[in-house]
């Protein structure tokens, strides 16, 4: 009996996040442990995407304070940790919303993310479902201290369905991961580095793949937007309806965005963390042809 308990004991790690204790499997990241608790405790994430391998660790919005490393080594971690990349240890104590340092750091991160962002929300089609908007609303400061000229790019048509506004991009790399992991051939990527880094295709090569539309859903900001929905309506005026299409290559589960009887947009269904539940581009394109 005692042996059995011993065997099960390493199976689950106890981790305390903002005074809420939860048991998670070893290898779980702090972010995913917090997502199991849910609510305010969950750190926001701009680049981490649970369904994309290797995502995370770039935007630094999910920083948390680790007040106690583990049961065996209770020293706190000296610096704030990116919760999407830090795995839990048994007896780890994490502070997110209860930590002043984290809140302060997050406000700084938001300021950094918005340094070059054009803040053209009144024009942007993503406004209303934009994660950067939510993040700025929850954690951002009112003003910016940046006095220099923001970097600008020309908007780019990549393929018949996707428009790229590089000025809005926060370089989360999600779209490149989608192309890498979901489609058979990636034709876009990050060019240059540092402040000059930009997402682009090889000399405006069209992105033409049955599943590439998922890049739009995956983009946390309005950098990749649906060309068929461009300036059609505002997100908050449209009503989401779950729909299904018999699709041989994908799961066919989509959300239709209606205004009245008119279908204005087709997207993937998203879960509470704003991540698509399933990839379904074929159905999306088919339905888009139906509705226009």
């Amino acid at each position: 009996m005692a042996e059995e308990v011993k065997k099960e004991a390493p199976a689950n790690f106890k981790v305390t996040i903002d005074n809420i204790t939860v048991e998670v499997a070893p290898g779980t990241t702090i972010l995913n442990a917090a997502r199991q608790i849910g609510g305010d405790v969950t750190p926001p994430a701009m680049c981490y995407y649970s369904k994309l391998e290797g995502s995370g660790g770039k935007c630094r919005t999910c920083l948390v304070e680790v007040a106690q490393g583990s049961e065996k080594d209770p020293r706190p971690m000296p610096k704030l940790m990116a919760s999407c990349r830090t795995t839990v240890m048994d007896g780890m104590v994490v502070k997110n919303i209860t930590s002043e340092r984290v809140q302060d750091a997050r406000a700084g991160v938001v300021e950094f993310l918005l340094l070059n962002h054009p803040l053209d929300c009144p024009i942007c089609d993503q406004a209303g479902e934009c994660h950067l908007q939510d993040l700025g609303y929850d954690h951002g400061k009112e003003g910016t201290r940046y006095e220099f000229k923001r970097r600008t790019f020309e908007k780019e048509d990549i393929g018949p369905y996707i428009q790229l506004h590089m000025t809005r991009c926060i370089l989360c790399y999600r779209c490149t991961y989608v192309a890498d992991q979901l489609t058979d051939k990636r034709v876009h990527g990050i060019l240059d580095r540092g402040d000059h880094a930009e997402i682009s295709t090889y000399i405006s090569k069209a992105i033409d793949n049955d599943f590439s539309g998922n890049m739009i859903d995956v983009c946390p900001v309005g950098a990749l937007t649906d060309k068929t929905f461009r300036f059609k309506n505002r997100v908050w005026f449209t009503k989401p309806v779950d729909a299904h299409r018999d699709c041989p290559t994908c799961c066919g589960k989509v959300t239709l965005w209606n205004r009245g009887d008119e279908v204005l947009r087709v997207t993937a269904r998203k879960d509470e963390w704003g991540e698509v539940q399933s990839y379904d581009d074929k159905a999306r394109l088919d339905l888009q042809y139906l509705s226009f």
Binding site: P122, I123, A127, F231, K232, R234, W236, F237
Partner: protein, 183 residues
């Protein structure tokens, strides 16, 4: 039993002869009437005379232009979502190359309608606008023959061009609308 000190008991005793001819009461009433002839009149002769509006008066909407005469509105929909009476509808369109002198941003309102019968002139649209595009002016909705006439379209709302129609622009501005600087 008196419930409060304010109540007075009605005198129900029969009237005397002097009271029953109402002479004194008639004189008292006439006195009040005649005294009003010499008092300041509460009314004005409306179309000729007009009262000054209060500083916070909210009248018909105008869609503002910037100092170069480009329309400010980008059809972001915040006025429509802020409107408690749901009086505002709009349709957006993309600015084409060569139209930069007409619209300030890459998106503009191709259709913009306010139903003045629904509007309650609360000014929330003005408050919601991130582009200083909509203002409530000092005029109110004139009478109209049909309900259709109260649905104000873009041509009724957009302020005259500040360079080409300077006088009309100043009149429409009415000292209320601020010209906003270029971005």
């Amino acid at each position: 039993m008196r419930l409060t000190n304010r109540s007075t008991e009605v005198d129900r005793s029969p009237m005397t002869f002097l009271e029953s001819i109402y002479l004194w009461n008639i004189l008292k009433g006439m006195g009040i009437t005649i005294s009003h002839l010499f008092k300041k009149k509460a009314t004005i002769q409306y179309p000729e005379q007009k009262r000054t509006f209060a500083k916070v008066f909210r009248g018909l909407h105008v869609l503002n232009r910037d100092e170069e005469g480009r329309e400010n509105c980008t059809a972001c929909g915040l006025c429509a979502v802020a409107c408690p009476a749901e009086a505002i509808t709009m349709e957006a369109a993309e600015r084409l190359p060569g139209e930069e002198n007409l619209y300030r941003e890459e998106k503009y309102a191709a259709k913009y309608e306010i139903n003045m019968l629904r509007c309650i002139f609360c000014g929330l649209c003005e408050e919601a606008c991130p582009k200083d595009a909509i203002y409530l002016s000092e005029t109110f909705a004139p009478a109209n023959y049909s309900r259709k006439g109260f649905i104000y379209k873009k041509e009724d709302l957009v302020i005259p061009h500040p360079i080409h129609e300077k006088e009309a622009y100043e009149k429409a501005k009415g000292g209320r609308v601020e010209i906003n600087k270029k971005d």
